[in-house]
C-alpha cells in the first residue's frame, strides 16, 4: 500500500536555501567532485585539447583564405562531409574552424553530461549508495540538486576549455566565447536529458544507452539538416535544412560563431534543459528511491533450451549491445551507399569543384562513391572495435561483480570462459562490419549507383576487420595480465587509435605517431593495386596477442573485487 502522495510530509523535501541544507549540498557536491576528479579532468582537458589542436591544424594546413574557400566549395558539394562536419559559414579562419570541429565538441560535451547525470542518479540508486545517502538528513532530493550543480559546473568548465582552446590559437575572442557557450549549452541540454532518462529507466546500463543514443541522434539530425542545406551565392556559406532545428547540436551551430556570433539560438538549449530538469524533478518528487517510471518486467521462470553454454550466456548478456552496434553499422552503411547517388548527381562536367576531385580520384583509379564508402566504412571499423572491446570489458565486469565465480564453480574452465567471449567478440566484429556492407550494398543497388562494384564494396568492408580484431585481442591480454586496468585501458586505447589514426591527418600529427594506430594500417582498396600488407600484419598481431592471452589465462586466478 502506497500512501497518497500528498501525505508525504512536505517538510522532508528539502529545498536548497537554508543554511544547513546549503552545507549538506556542498558536502554532496564535494563527494561528486571527489568521485569524478579524474574523469572530469579528462573530459574537460580532452575537449579543450581537441579545440586547440583543430584550430592549430587549420592555421597550419589552411592558413590562407583561398585554400579554405576551395575546401569549403568541395565540402558544400559533398553531403558526406557536411554530414560529418557541420555548416559552412564563410572562409574566415574562425568560422572555418567552427565548421570543422564544433559538432564533435558538442557531441563530446553531450556524452560527458549524460554519463555524469546517470552516474550520480540511477547508477547510485542501483548500487544502493543513494539509499544510504537518502537515509541521512540529505534526503532524497538534495543529492539530485548536487548532481545538477555538479553537471552545470562541469559544462561551464567545458565552455571555458573550448573558449581557451580557440582563443589560444589567436581566433577572435568573441567568436571563441560564442563557440564555448554553444558547446556548454549542448552539454546542459544533455545533462537534463540524462537526469530525465534516469527517472524512466530502471538500470544505469539502460539509462546510459538511451541517453547516449539521444546524443548521437542529435548529431545525426544536425548532419541531415546540414547535408540538405541550401548553398549560398558565394559558394562558401550554407543555410541549414529544417532537420537541424530538431537537434540541440544544430541549435549550437545556429550561433554562427565567428561569422554571426548570435546569442539568441542558445535560448533553445537552455529552455529544453529547463523543461527536462523540471520534468525530472516532478517525477523524482513522487517516486520511491530505486523505483523507475518504466519498471522491471518479470523474467522467465525457466531458461530457453539454448541457454546451456558459456558462449550462450555471453551472447544473452551482450545481445542488446551487439544489436545496437550492428544497427549503427548498418545505418552507416546505408548512409555511405545512399550518398553515392547524391555525389554522382553532382559529378557532372561543368562543376569546377567536382572536376578537380574527379581528376584526383581518376589518378588513384577509384570513383567518388568508392571514396565516400571507404571514409564512412572507417567509422564502421571504429564501431566494430568498440563492440569488440566491450566483449572484453564484459568479462572484467563479470569478474568484478562476482558472477564469474558462479560460472567457474561449475564445469567451465577459465580458458573456455575467456575463449567464448573472444569468439563472440570476433563474430560481433564481423556482424557489425558485415551489416555496414549490407546497408551500403542495398543503398547502392536501390539508388542504381553502379560506380562501385560489389567486390570493391566487400573488400572495403573486409579491410576494416583486422583493426577491429586488434581491439579484441589487446584488451583481452590486458584483462588477463592487469585486470583492474581493463576498462580504462581499453577505452583509452580506442580513443588514442581514433585520434592518431583517423584524425591524425587533420590534426597534422607526425606519421610515426599515426603509425601507432591500427586504423592507420587499414588497407584502402584500390582495385588490384590494393596493399593488403597492413591487414595481414594486424591479423598476425591480433592472433598472437589473443594466443598469449589464452595461454596466460591458464595461470590466472579469477577473483572478485
Amino acid at each position: 500500500m502506497h500512501p497518497p502522495v500528498d501525505m508525504v510530509p512536505g517538510g522532508t523535501c528539502s529545498v536548497p536555501g537554508d543554511g544547513a541544507d546549503m552545507g549538506v549540498l556542498l558536502v554532496l557536491w564535494g563527494q561528486r567532485l571527489r568521485r569524478d576528479r579524474w574523469q572530469l579532468v579528462s573530459w574537460v582537458v580532452a575537449i579543450g585539447a581537441f579545440a586547440l589542436f583543430a584550430a592549430a591544424a587549420v592555421t597550419q594546413t589552411y592558413g590562407n583564405a583561398a585554400a579554405r574557400t576551395e575546401i569549403l566549395q568541395v565540402a558544400i558539394a559533398t553531403p558526406a562531409i557536411l554530414m560529418l562536419r557541420g555548416l559552412p559559414r564563410g572562409a574566415d579562419q574562425g568560422a572555418f574552424t567552427f565548421f570543422l570541429i564544433y559538432a564533435f565538441l558538442a557531441l563530446l560535451a553531450g556524452l560527458m553530461s549524460t554519463f555524469l547525470a546517470v552516474r550520480h542518479t540511477r547508477a547510485d540508486e542501483e548500487t544502493g549508495g543513494a539509499e544510504l545517502v537518502a537515509a541521512t538528513p540529505a534526503g532524497r532530493l538534495l543529492p539530485n540538486a548536487a548532481t545538477l550543480l555538479h553537471g552545470v559546473a562541469a559544462n561551464i568548465l567545458v565552455a571555458l576549455a573550448v573558449f581557451a582552446g580557440f582563443a589560444a590559437q589567436g581566433l577572435d575572442p568573441q567568436g571563441s566565447l560564442t563557440a564555448g557557450a554553444a558547446t556548454g549549452a549542448v552539454g546542459l541540454v544533455f545533462l537534463g536529458v540524462g537526469l530525465l532518462v534516469a527517472q524512466f529507466m530502471g538500470t544505469s546500463r539502460g539509462a546510459n544507452g538511451v541517453s547516449a543514443a539521444l546524443v548521437v541522434l542529435a548529431y545525426l539530425l544536425r548532419g541531415i539538416g546540414d547535408a540538405t542545406g541550401t548553398p549560398g551565392a558565394d559558394g562558401t556559406t550554407m543555410t541549414e535544412g529544417p532537420a537541424s532545428w530538431f537537434s540541440p547540436i544544430g541549435w549550437g551551430q545556429q550561433t554562427y560563431a565567428y561569422s554571426g556570433n548570435r546569442a539568441w539560438p542558445l535560448l533553445l538549449p537552455l529552455g529544453l534543459a529547463v523543461v527536462c530538469l523540471t520534468a525530472a524533478w516532478l517525477i523524482l518528487r513522487h517516486r520511491d528511491t530505486g523505483d523507475s517510471v518504466w519498471g522491471a518486467r518479470p523474467g522467465r521462470a525457466a531458461a530457453r533450451p539454448g541457454l546451456r553454454s558459456p558462449v550462450a550466456l555471453a551472447l544473452r548478456l551482450q545481445s542488446g549491445s551487439i544489436i545496437g552496434w550492428a544497427l549503427s553499422g548498418m545505418a552507416l552503411g546505408l548512409l555511405a551507399g545512399s550518398l553515392g547517388k547524391a555525389v554522382a548527381a553532382l559529378d557532372t562536367p561543368g562543376t569546377g569543384i567536382t572536376a578537380v576531385m574527379r581528376a584526383m580520384l581518376q589518378a588513384q583509379g577509384i570513383s567518388l562513391t568508392q571514396l565516400m564508402v571507404s571514409v564512412i566504412f572507417s567509422m564502421a571499423g571504429v564501431l566494430a572495435a568498440a563492440c569488440a572491446l566491450q566483449a572484453v570489458i564484459r568479462l572484467r565486469q563479470e569478474e568484478a561483480a562476482g558472477t564469474a565465480e558462479l560460472l567457474l564453480a561449475v564445469p567451465v574452465g577459465r580458458v573456455r570462459w575467456l575463449a567464448g567471449y573472444l569468439l563472440l567478440g570476433a563474430a560481433a566484429v564481423v556482424l557489425v562490419i558485415g551489416l555496414a556492407g549490407v546497408g551500403a550494398w542495398a543503398a547502392l543497388a536501390g539508388s542504381g549507383d553502379a560506380s562501385m562494384p560489389a567486390d570493391a564494396l566487400w573488400e572495403t568492408a573486409l579491410a576494416q576487420v583486422p583493426a577491429a580484431l586488434i581491439y579484441l585481442a589487446v584488451p583481452a591480454l590486458v584483462f588477463v595480465l592487469w585486470p583492474t586496468a581493463t576498462i580504462a585501458a581499453s577505452w583509452a586505447l580506442l580513443a588514442l587509435g581514433v585520434v592518431l589514426g583517423i584524425f591524425g591527418g587533420m590534426l597534422g600529427l607526425d606519421q610515426n605517431l599515426r603509425n601507432l594506430s591500427p586504423f592507420t594500417h587499414t588497407p584502402v582498396p584500390q582495385g588490384d593495386a590494393t596493399d593488403w600488407s597492413g591487414a595481414w600484419g594486424m591479423l598476425a598481431v591480433a592472433a598472437v596477442t589473443a594466443a598469449l592471452a589464452v595461454a596466460a589465462m591458464r595461470r590466472r586466478e579469477v577473483g572478485s573485487a
Binding site: E126, T203, A296, R297, P298, G299, R300, A301, A302, A303, L307, R308, S309, P310, L313, R316, L317, A401, G402, T403, E405, L406, L407, L408, A409, V410, P411, V412, G413, R414, R416, R555, E557, V558, G559, S560
Partner: protein, 328 residues
C-alpha cells in the same frame, strides 16, 4: 578413499598478508564438516582454493583426489558450491540462472525429473523464479545458489556461509535438504560463523583462525574444553553455604540468582552438593560453540594451548588471550 577433502600445509599469501598459513584440513566421506572461524580467518580463501578459483602459494589441496587448480573442470562435475554472497546476472531471472548452472553441471539429462526437483525446491524455499536477478533481495539471491546446488546431485557440497540472509524457516528447509543429501552419501564442507547451525548439523568441526586450523574434532570432544553454565534461585543461601559447592568457576550472586560455571565433563560432580543445598529453579545450560569460538577468537597463539588437557586452567587463560591479540 575415505578422505574427500585434504589439504596439507596450505599457504596462500597476498603480498605480505598470509591469508592461509599452513592449513591442514581433512573431511571424511559422508560427513557434514563444520568450518568455523571469524571473518577474515581464511574460510573463503580455503574454499576458493578447493574450487580451483585461486592457486595456493604452497602446500597441497585435493578434493575427491583431484588437484583443484589444474583439474577444476573434472572436479566441478562432481561438486556443488554455494558462495556466501551470491551475485546474479541482473538481467537473467532466477529460474534461468538455476537452469543454466544445472545444465552446465550436466544434471539435467533427465529433463522431467530435473524440472520436478527444481519446482519442488522453489516451492519449499518459497522462491519466485520469474524475477530478474537485480530484483532479488539478499536472501532470495542466496536461494538461487542453494536451489541450483541442490537441484542436481553432487558428491561434494562446498557451502560458504550458505544461510546468510535466510530467515529461520528457510534455514530449516536448508537443513532438511542438506541432511537428505548426506543421506544419499554426499559430503559437505560447511563454512559458517553461525554456531547454532553448525551445532545442529555438523558431525565434526575444524576451527580456523588466522589461516590455520587451531582446533578440531567431534563436537563432543570439543565440549570437553568448555564449561556448562549453572544457575539457581538464591533463596536464603549465603556465602558459607555456597562454599560447599567446591571447585566451581565464576561464582556470583546477582539479582536473586546464583550463577557459576563448571567444566562440562565434570558437571556431575557438583550434583551432590546442589542436592544437599536443596536448590530451587535449577537451570544448566550446555556449552555452546560460542565458548569454543571465544577461546580461539582471542587466542594469540595458533598452536594448541598447553591447558587444553587441563580444563580447570582454561578460564584464566581466556581472559588473558582475549586481551593479547595479533601476535601472528
Amino acid at each position: 578413499m575415505n578422505t574427500v577433502v585434504h589439504t596439507a600445509n596450505l599457504h596462500k599469501h597476498f603480498g605480505h598478508v598470509k591469508a592461509l598459513d599452513g592449513l591442514d584440513l581433512d573431511v571424511q566421506r559422508g560427513e557434514i564438516h563444520g568450518f568455523l572461524g571469524p571473518n577474515g580467518a581464511g574460510k573463503s580463501t580455503t574454499l576458493r582454493i578447493l574450487l580451483g578459483l585461486a592457486r595456493p602459494t604452497s602446500g597441497s589441496a585435493a578434493v575427491l583426489g583431484f588437484e583443484p587448480w589444474s583439474q577444476a573442470v573434472e572436479l566441478h562435475r562432481r561438486l556443488a558450491y554455494v558462495p556466501g554472497d551470491v551475485r546474479l546476472w541482473p538481467n537473467l531471472s532466477g529460474g534461468e540462472t538455476i537452469d543454466l548452472l544445472s545444465r552446465l553441471r550436466g544434471g539435467t539429462a533427465d529433463g522431467a525429473a530435473y524440472r520436478r526437483r527444481k519446482e519442488s525446491l522453489c516451492q519449499e524455499f518459497d522462491f519466485d523464479p520469474a524475477k530478474k536477478g537485480r530484483a532479488y533481495s539478499k536472501g532470495n539471491r542466496q536461494k538461487v545458489a542453494l536451489i541450483a546446488a541442490l537441484a542436481t546431485e553432487a558428491e561434494v557440497y562446498l557451502l560458504d556461509e550458505p544461510t546468510s540472509g535466510l530467515d529461520p524457516l528457510m534455514e530449516e528447509v536448508f537443513r532438511r535438504e542438506l541432511l537428505a543429501a548426506v543421506g544419499r552419501g554426499a559430503t559437505v564442507l560447511l563454512s559458517s560463523h553461525i554456531l547454532s547451525e553448525v551445532e545442529v548439523l555438523c558431525h565434526r568441526v575444524s576451527i580456523i583462525r588466522a589461516g590455520r586450523i587451531v582446533d578440531g574434532g567431534t563436537l563432543d570432544s570439543l565440549r570437553h574444553l568448555t564449561r556448562s553454565e549453572v544457575s539457581f534461585a538464591a533463596d536464603g543461601l549465603d556465602a558459607q553455604a555456597l562454599a560447599r559447592l567446591g571447585a566451581v568457576h565464576d561464582l556470583t550472586l546477582d539479582a536473586g540468582r546464583v550463577r557459576f560455571s563448571a567444566d562440562s565433563d565434570r558437571i556431575a560432580e557438583v550434583f551432590p552438593a546442589l542436592g544437599a543445598l536443596g536448590v530451587q529453579g535449577l537451570t544448566i545450560v550446555p556449552p555452546s560453540l560460542e565458548e569454543l569460538f571465544l577461546r580461539h577468537y582471542g587466542d594469540a597463539s595458533a598452536a594448541p594451548e598447553p591447558e587444553a588437557d587441563a580444563p580447570s586452567g582454561g578460564h584464566g587463560s581466556r581472559r588473558h588471550l582475549l586481551s593479547a591479540r595479533g601476535r601472528s
